[in-house]
Amino acid sequence: MKIKQKQKINFRSLIINRRYLVISVIIGVAGLLVVFLGITPQINQTLDLNRKIKTEQQKLELLIRKTSDLENIDAQEAYASVDLVDQVLPSKKPLLELLAVLSTIAGKSEVVFTNMSLSPGKIASESAQFINSAKSNTGQTKVTPVIKEDRGFLDVELKVSGLFSNVEQFFLDVERVAPLIIIKSISLNIKSEEIIMPTDQVDAELVLSVYYFTKTVSASLESSLPSIGSKEQEIISEISSYYYPSIEVQQQIIGGGLEDLFGLNIQEIKEAGF
């Protein structure tokens, strides 16, 4: 009982006599709480925010650049060739365009079509035999075909005849047109066993591949616009000299009951009660 009373007196005495020490301890504890529960987590959060701002700032700069690029895209010289590129590599099988362009360049080179078919059988197999024999000569007996998902092609078999010099010109012209054509095989039918002169009449069998674009293009809002490099610039300058076919499209239907072919006055007939 005495001991307890003594302790109580000492505690009270401590508060009375050493109140500054007690308050100092309380303030010190509060200071430590400020450090550990306030300053440290707040600094961490602020640093995180700063990092986030830097990342967001970079994204923002990219978006500003993209917006500016998009708004000034028409001023880009290369983009003016978008229609040419679409014609050279269309997004659909360019059958009509192919027929139109072949007919035009055949006329220009003064050669005549004697046959033309899609998905060739006979000529393709002859060409395949020739290339297979070539493969066996180089030791490439089996080649795994490389499937490109960004393009498709249509094989066309063609037989042309004309003067040798004109047929040669046709071979040169056929790879400089829209849509993009690549000669897969050429075979000259030489009747005599003499060397051909430019003025000789020759028949030629060709297999052509006509290319079109099949890739699914995707872009996200926050991704930057793709750039046009020097290779692409070269392509643009090369295709600008290509021949582009013009296909006439019927724009309107004439007739359709608008004209009174029999010269009847419909109003009078109605009034007469027929």
Binding site: Y20, L63, L70, F130, K135, T138, Q140, I182, E232
Partner: protein
């Protein structure tokens, strides 16, 4: 009457302790005030950053809206560049083929005719059928094919299927693998 102070020593000790305690109090108060100031500063920075982030995000939303409004233009441009890249690849393969055909159509002279050409894009093989006027022209053809210039130009060049026709002309096949050695 004289007063006798029996707790003088104790008061003196307590006064000394009180002075020390005050020192501790001052140090603790100053330190905690500094901590509080630092906390206020950090909070100030945090609020500044939060408002900056808000500004950035609102600018971002604004820019995204502008980009969305140009969606058709973007689509057209991305498609345009993708097509150019595909064309670039096809053209580089085709250029190799055209260069080889151009080389062989000039190098042999007028007495040799290329009567057949086959091209396989997958394996990058190019095969020619050559028709030579006579045995002397054929010898020239062999010399040209075996020359250092031809060896340097083509990493793989094979001759095959040599035939003599009744008219005295010679037919043979040349097979070339396109592309540079390092690319294979």
């Amino acid at each position: 009457m004289k007063e006798i102070n029996f707790v003088r020593g104790r008061i003196k000790a307590l006064t000394k302790l009180g002075q020390n305690d005050k020192k501790f109090f001052n140090i603790a108060a100053i330190t905690t005030s500094v901590f509080l100031l630092i906390l206020a500063g950090v909070l100030g920075f945090k609020f500044y950053f939060v408002s900056q982030l808000g500004d950035i995000q609102s600018s971002r939303e604004n820019l995204l809206e502008r980009i969305k409004s140009k969606e058709a233009t973007e689509k057209s441009f991305v498609l345009f560049v993708s097509k150019l890249r595909v064309l670039s690849e096809i053209f580089s393969q085709r250029k190799d083929k055209q260069d080889v055909i151009g080389y062989f159509s000039q190098v042999f002279g007028p007495d040799v005719v290329i009567d057949r050409i086959a091209y396989d894009a997958d394996s990058q093989l190019l095969a020619f059928g050559l028709l030579s006027k006579d045995i002397f022209t054929l010898e020239t053809v062999f010399d040209i094919l075996d020359s250092e210039q031809s060896k340097q130009r083509f990493s793989s060049l094979a001759k095959s299927n040599l035939q003599r026709n009744s008219g005295g002309t010679y037919r043979m096949q040349i097979t070339i693998v396109l592309g540079k050695e390092g690319e294979k």
